[in-house]
């Protein structure tokens, strides 16, 4: 039970960062299926920077920067060039797969210290919740506060109002004196940074190594989680915890030698994502930003 909870927190953290990245972009009306690629580039940049500088902090910052840069390219294509969001996002995924392979080619499998655990004095000794909640690295501790901060930012600040207005109705937002283009760029740069951090958390926080395509579809799971979260950062916490739990359970069953094929167990997060989509996708659609992607709902 204890290791299940600890595992859920560890596996849920990159998912939470990734889901927040997708939430902020979609709130501004842009679907980014390239999140998977952004995470990969973040993962490799964070890892290589950590190897070269010896500083995991520098790694996280570099990953955020790299993610934002890649998303800037995406923003230019979908905002300025009016390219189809879904197709461009998938092309971005391809670019991320290739770029990360190229950048990380000579670093595959290298071990690093990575992010160090910072046990909270006193609390870390508590039974069960101590190891599960209070013996992690800084990125894990920061994840939930960042989600709450983003929730507040989206729903209680003028900037958040502008982002939501652009996602609902760019024409009205423009008439009200907001430039949708600027707002969408801001949201996508922030999303890129968060996506980069999500990847860095995988490479220098969880795995402490780099392997090609190590995100294994987490970027797509995050897109499904956005729907579960109804585009609310606060609900994303619950979604990430649920999926972190599923991944953790799957790993736990494998190490316990349960007589189920590991390949069947590996399906769990994807099948769960599909179930969540089917359960929340229909009723949840009303919660979606009205101008989301436009092509997303069909006609352009």
């Amino acid at each position: 039970m204890r290791s299940l909870m600890t595992g859920a927190v560890v596996a849920g953290t990159p998912l939470l960062y990734a889901t927040l990245a997708e939430v902020i972009g979609q709130r501004a009306g842009v679907v980014n299926l390239g999140l998977e690629g952004v995470m990969l580039v973040g993962a490799v940049t964070g890892f290589v920077t950590t190897v070269l500088t010896g500083s995991a902090t520098a790694g996280v910052l570099a990953a955020a920067l790299a993610g934002a840069l890649l998303n800037a390219l995406f923003a230019w294509l979908v905002v300025d060039r009016r390219a189809n969001q879904l197709a461009t996002g998938l092309a971005l995924m391809f670019a991320g797969v290739g770029l990360s392979a190229l950048l990380g080619a000579s670093y595959v499998g290298r071990p690093i210290t990575g992010l160090v655990e910072l046990p909270v004095p006193g609390l870390a000794r508590l039974p069960v919740v101590g190891p599960a909640l209070f013996s992690h690295d800084a990125l894990v501790y920061a994840a939930v506060p960042i989600a709450l901060l983003m929730h507040w930012g989206l729903f209680s600040t003028r900037w958040g109002l502008a982002v939501r207005a652009v996602g609902e109705n760019p024409v009205a937002a423009f008439a009200a004196g907001r430039n949708p283009r600027v707002v969408q760029y801001q949201a996508l740069l922030l999303a890129g940074a968060l996506g980069g951090i999500a990847g860095a958390d995988l490479s220098i926080g969880v795995a402490k190594t780099w392997a090609e395509w190590m995100t294994a579809g987490r970027g797509f799971i995050a897109v499904a989680l956005v729907i579960f979260a109804r585009w609310q950062p606060r609900r994303a916490i619950a979604g990430a915890a649920l999926f972190g739990g599923a991944i953790s359970l799957q790993l736990l069953l494998q190490t316990r030698g349960i007589p189920i094929s590991p390949f069947i167990l590996d399906m769990l997060p994807y099948v769960l994502s599909l179930a969540v989509l089917a359960a929340w996708g229909g009723t949840g659609r009303r919660a979606a930003p009205a101008s989301l992607g436009r092509v997303f709902q069909g006609s352009q």
Binding site: L33, L73, W76, L77, R81, R82, A83, N84, L86, A87, T88, L90, A91, L92, M93, F94, A95, V97, G98, L99, A101, L102, A105, E212, W213, A216, G217, F220, I221, V223, A224, S261, F263, I264, D266, M267, Y270, V271, S273, L274, L277, A278, G281, G282, R285, V295, F296, G298, S299, Q300
Partner: protein
């Protein structure tokens, strides 16, 4: 450029040059010689008859996986599940190859093709049904189903279907001769290429000359109006997903039968995803699909070469494919 028929080709050529140039710049940044890289790619794929035949071997599944995207895209459906549909098609075809091994070649191959189509189609139908009921966007569900399909193939080749004499390789027993698609003598170019070309021709015919093609254009153009006309929109959603998925499943059947001769986990180097790029580059146009499939077959084959001669990871060609699609998607558009 004046000639109306040459204009799209000239445009495609121009975009190709921009894409190749951008990738060359990137290679320069990473200290590689882009001219050498391109020379290696072209020499190995177009330079001799063996290389050319191996390129055609890759064109065959790409035509089918591109159609898997192009068919549903007639009515704005975005099928990104070609990869998974290909794997399920291969899985179903393999079942026939292993269990009906004593059948004569003709009927066995027909059953394998049928099961391949049915398997891929059924896999895509899941996404089609979710979409038709308004439960989930087919884009995300097809993506997620890819992972499940590939794991399913891993499960059978590591588990129940594993060849006990496979020397620790996860794979099924080799297929009987009757389950192998005929190939052009002296090469690996197989009947799947003809099948792919026929499928493209059939697609071109249906969209241009049949009532279905017209109705698809109506649904694709204006759902609301099509609905008022009484067109069965949900039926089109499910049927077109099944046909698309079926074609990808057929690609899985031809790969497993003609190229692998047994089911292996490394069935496809991402043919499903490459098919998606091809269809979008071609704008879903039949002739464009054939041209783009050939170009991307050259690039796919080139990835293996770059790995050997330039010490680049094979997946760098993903960058080239992405850049090409970026160029196509970001081109100045006449707003339709």
């Amino acid at each position: 450029m004046r000639h109306p028929r040459l204009a799209p080709l000239a445009r495609f050529g121009g975009l190709l040059v921009i894409g190749l140039g951008a990738f060359a710049l990137l290679l320069l940044v990473f200290g590689r010689n882009p001219l050498r890289a391109y020379a290696d790619i072209f020499a190995s794929t177009l330079g001799d008859s063996y290389g050319f035949s191996e390129t055609l071997v890759k064109v065959a599944p790409l035509l089918l996986t591109a159609l898997a995207v192009a068919v549903p895209s007639r009515i704005w459906l975005i099928n990104v599940g070609g990869e998974g549909q290909l794997y399920v098609g291969a899985l179903c075809a393999t079942w026939a190859a292993l269990n009906l091994a004593d059948w004569p070649r003709g009927p066995l191959l027909a059953v394998m093709a049928l099961l391949g189509f049915a398997g891929g189609g059924a896999w895509a139908a899941i996404a089609g049904m979710l979409r038709a009921r308004g439960w989930a966007s087919e884009t995300i569900s097809t993506l997620l189903l890819n992972y499940v399909a590939i794991l399913l193939v891993h499960y059978v080749v590591f588990g129940p279907w594993r060849d006990p004499e496979g020397l620790n390789y996860p794979q099924t027993t080799p297929f009987a001769d009757g389950a192998i698609l005929p190939a052009w003598p002296g090469s690996r170019v197989h009947l799947g290429l003809l099948l792919g070309l026929l499928a493209v021709a059939a697609f071109a015919f249906v969209i241009a000359r049949t009532r279905w093609g017209l109705e698809m254009r109506a649904v694709g153009g204006n759902v609301e109006a099509a609905h008022r006309l009484g067109l069965p929109i949900n039926r089109y959603v499910i049927v077109l997903m099944i046909v698309g998925g079926g074609l990808a499943g057929l690609a899985g059947m031809t790969e497993v039968s003609a190229i692998q001769g047994r089911l292996r986990p490394s069935l496809s180097p991402g043919y499903g995803y490459t098919g998606f790029l091809i269809s979008w580059m071609a704008g879903g146009h039949p002739v464009g699909i054939v041209v783009a499939a050939f170009v991307l077959a050259v690039i796919t084959a080139g990835g293996d070469i770059l790995q050997m001669t330039q010490a680049l990871p094979g997946s760098v060609v993903n960058i080239l494919m992405a850049v090409l699609l970026f160029v196509v998607l970001g081109r100045p558009q006449a707003r339709a």
